[in-house]
């Protein structure tokens, strides 16, 4: 045991291994943070959520820190709700029997250099028979007033300003999210307009025709950047998947590596100890397994049966038990088998299983450690590969699934690099972290490599 610890201490002599150890430590901390900050059920619920959860998030926008590269103060999302109070005022006045005005004024400060990505106005009303009538205005800092529309509304209504054709025409052909914020002095043929900073106001003049009838509004000015990781095509915050990808990747990689290494290690020990047909069978199965196309079989299973990550994990372990490493371990066990201490143990009457598990295996166990560490990233990438092929777990948010979403939505063609780079960098760092430690361990536990 003490030599084992000494060996581990030796790891710190390798600079790359120190980097790797830090990466692994960082990943573990990250994974623990993810599990604590966003519990499992909540993460799944968020990731599978639709409009009701992600409605106020911008679509396909890069993370906030990417604004550094553009050198501009890019807009973040602004949400104004008539229920939230504060500067937002809602006033009501009796006009006639059962008829009231409901005026909502939503002032806000716009300090950004660029225009919002999209503008939506969500309207809600309470009424029995007669629908409330609305007249909506937009007031700019320089005192202009732009009519946005006049109409009756149902119980819930979504007024997508950005795709309103009449509004576009009224704004002289400019897209509403640009036209409403553009400085009129900069609106010229062929030039990109500049945003006008200052205090804007959205005014809703409503008229309700029943007692107890009411109107509420929510204005969402979607930003051009969002959070630490940006958002995807379904407006989801990619951060959720980046966070949860770590514990899933680590769990998958670790369990697959432990499962497959320990099982093939035990099989090699049993085979070399008993010899004869047991050994022969294990050897032949290993040869069959080399020819089995593992990835296509996983694809078959993913397509026909289950895409659950745990089923895939089980199959991965099953398929890698009879891997080529059995032959490596076997040749080591064959040497150990002839050592005097085994002879001694046999002389005092230890039975076969005791000899295999208590005497043979512990002797060769240290050799497992480097290959075990180098195996982890290969399984992490296997999971990502399956996800990229569209066979990822349907429920869990993983790095591979973010890559898959990015790929199927043409992120590289459309220049949404953050979407590809974020999960790819995390995978890369994970892979390199484990690989560097594995390489250093290989040199430590393999004395023949140490000299060269």
């Amino acid at each position: 045991m003490s030599t084992f610890l000494q060996n581990l201490k030796e790891l710190t002599h390798y600079r790359s291994a120190i980097f790797g150890l830090f990466v692994i430590l960082g990943l573990v901390v990250w994974a623990i943070y993810a599990v604590v900050a966003v519990p499992y059920d909540q993460a799944i619920q968020l990731w599978r959520g639709g409009e009701e959860i992600w409605g106020d998030y911008p679509k396909n926008v890069p993370p906030q820190w990417s604004a550094i590269f553009s050198g501009k103060n890019l807009p973040t999302t602004i949400v104004l709700n008539s229920r939230q109070g504060g500067e937002i005022r809602k006033e009501s006045q009796e006009v006639a029997d059962d008829m009231r005005t409901v005026d909502i004024t939503m002032p806000f400060h716009y300090p950004f250099d660029d225009f919002p990505n999209e503008i939506n106005l969500f309207l809600e009303s309470k009424f029995q028979q007669r629908k409330p009538h609305l007249n909506i205005f937009w007031r700019t800092p320089d005192g202009r007033q732009i009519a946005l529309g006049e109409f009756s509304i149902g119980a819930t209504e979504r007024f997508a300003l950005s795709i309103d054709q009449r509004l576009t025409r009224r704004l002289g052909g400019l897209a509403p999210e640009v036209g409403l914020f553009a400085d009129p002095a900069t609106v010229k043929e062929g030039a990109k307009p500049v945003s006008l900073k200052g205090k804007y106001e959205l005014v809703i003049e409503g008229l309700v025709f029943e007692k107890g009838s009411d109107i509420d509004a929510k204005l969402v000015l979607y930003g051009q950047v969002h959070g630490l990781a940006g958002t995807d095509h379904r407006r989801r915050d990619i951060m959720i998947a980046l966070l949860w990808g770590a514990p899933i990747a680590l769990a998958f990689g670790f369990l697959a590596a432990v499962g497959s290494t320990l099982l093939s290690f035990s099989l090699a020990a049993i085979g070399s100890w008993f010899g004869g047909w047991v050994d022969g069978l294990i050897q032949r199965l290993t040869e069959v397994n080399v020819i089995l196309p593992v990835l296509p079989i996983l694809i078959l299973i993913g397509t026909f049966y289950s895409r659950s990550i745990w089923v895939i994990l089980g199959v991965v372990i099953l398929l890698s038990i009879f891997s080529l490493s059995i032959k490596v371990y076997r040749s080591m066990f064959l040497q150990v088998k002839e050592l005097p201490y085994i002879e001694a143990a046999r002389a005092y009457g230890a039975n076969d299983l005791r000899l295999v598990f208590r005497y043979m295996m512990p002797k060769v166990l240290p050799v497992l450690i480097p290959s075990f560490v180098t195996l982890i990233p290969s399984y992490v990438f296997l999971e990502a590969s399956l996800a990229v092929l569209g066979l990822g777990d349907p429920v869990l948010p993983t790095w591979g699934k973010v890559l898959n979403d990015a790929y199927s939505n043409g992120a590289l063609y459309k220049g949404m690099y953050y979407w590809v780079l974020e999960p790819a960098m995390l995978l890369m760092v994970t892979g390199l972290g484990f690989a560097t430690v594995g390489f250093a361990l290989d040199r430590i536990f393999n004395p023949r490599l140490r000299e060269v």
Binding site: V288, V290, P296, V388, L412, G431, L432
Partner: protein, 378 residues
Amino acid sequence: MTTEVLTQQAAPRSRVGIRLPDTLTRILRYTLYRGVALFITVVVGVYLTVLIANMGGYLDTIRMAQIREAAGMIVLTDPQLQALPPSELRQRIDEIAAIEIQRLRLDQPFFIRSLDYLTDALTLTLGRAEHLSSDSGSRQVRLIIFERLPATILLFATGNLTLFFTSVFVALYLSRRYGSLLDKMVIALAPTSAPPGWFYGIFLILIFASLLRLLPFGGMVDAPPPETVPEYVLSLIRHMILPVTAIIINAIFNSIYNWRTFFLIYSSEDYVELAKAKGLSSRAIERRYILRPTLPPIVTSFAFTLIFLWQGAIILETVFTWPGLGRLLYQAVSIFDVPVIVGSVVLIAYLLAITVFLLDIVYAILDPRVKVGGERRV
């Protein structure tokens, strides 16, 4: 893998005149033995694949549906039967289908049926694809698959051969300059082989296609394909640069590192020291005393690289939209074309077996100790 090959100590033997007939019979016997053994393993592998694909009853449903469709065609296009009422027509269809099902032994127990499927899969008699079709318009699974094979072979042969020869020669060079800056760099870069090839593919596409717009995003030739041969070849090469680079970047540092470690270990053997003491040129030492005994493990290791790459092909081709076997499998998976999925898996199993087989023969030629069936066993 390093440890595995290290355990196979191969000492060079002085060649006291080659007796060709002996060598030839040795290799022939060995080839036969390995061929039979590998064929059995392929059969076992394909049988497992068939079992997996059939557990959900997919193959059965496809075949039943095909039979019913064929029976329907026979009855409905028969002018003599057109006067019959629909219920009777349906009965006729059922009768014909039942006879056909009996003929094809679909009413047999699963074990017997699974053996039938096994022979079909092994001969790639997989009938018609459900959705996909070949470029020539055929629906035959076999044609669809074989049409894609050359693309895969072209890409992976180019990538792997380049990779193999570059890494072996760079490794030889480095083993002479052990401890130099270049050597240290290669050791430091060896862990970059942890991510798979497609992963580097994404970065390459991002840089060279997306940002710099120098090379195409994917595909095999421009659309529409160039008409003259030189233009076609040029376009093909342009499309091959990125995927081949991805294959090479992915594995090169690790394989250089592995070879170099080998060469260093073998160059500290006593017989190398002796050769040095005899005053042989370093080139001769390299060729006869280092490269020759290390060739068998190198070849084994190359075989494993190939095996992993055949499987990596599926994603690499998908990422680069390369019209090969891997992409076909991906397309078949995404539209649930079961005959094509089973066919591709079987063909990939065959390719793996052929790879192993070819390398076994090469191994037998290279390693004089392999004497299966020979009189003098070592």
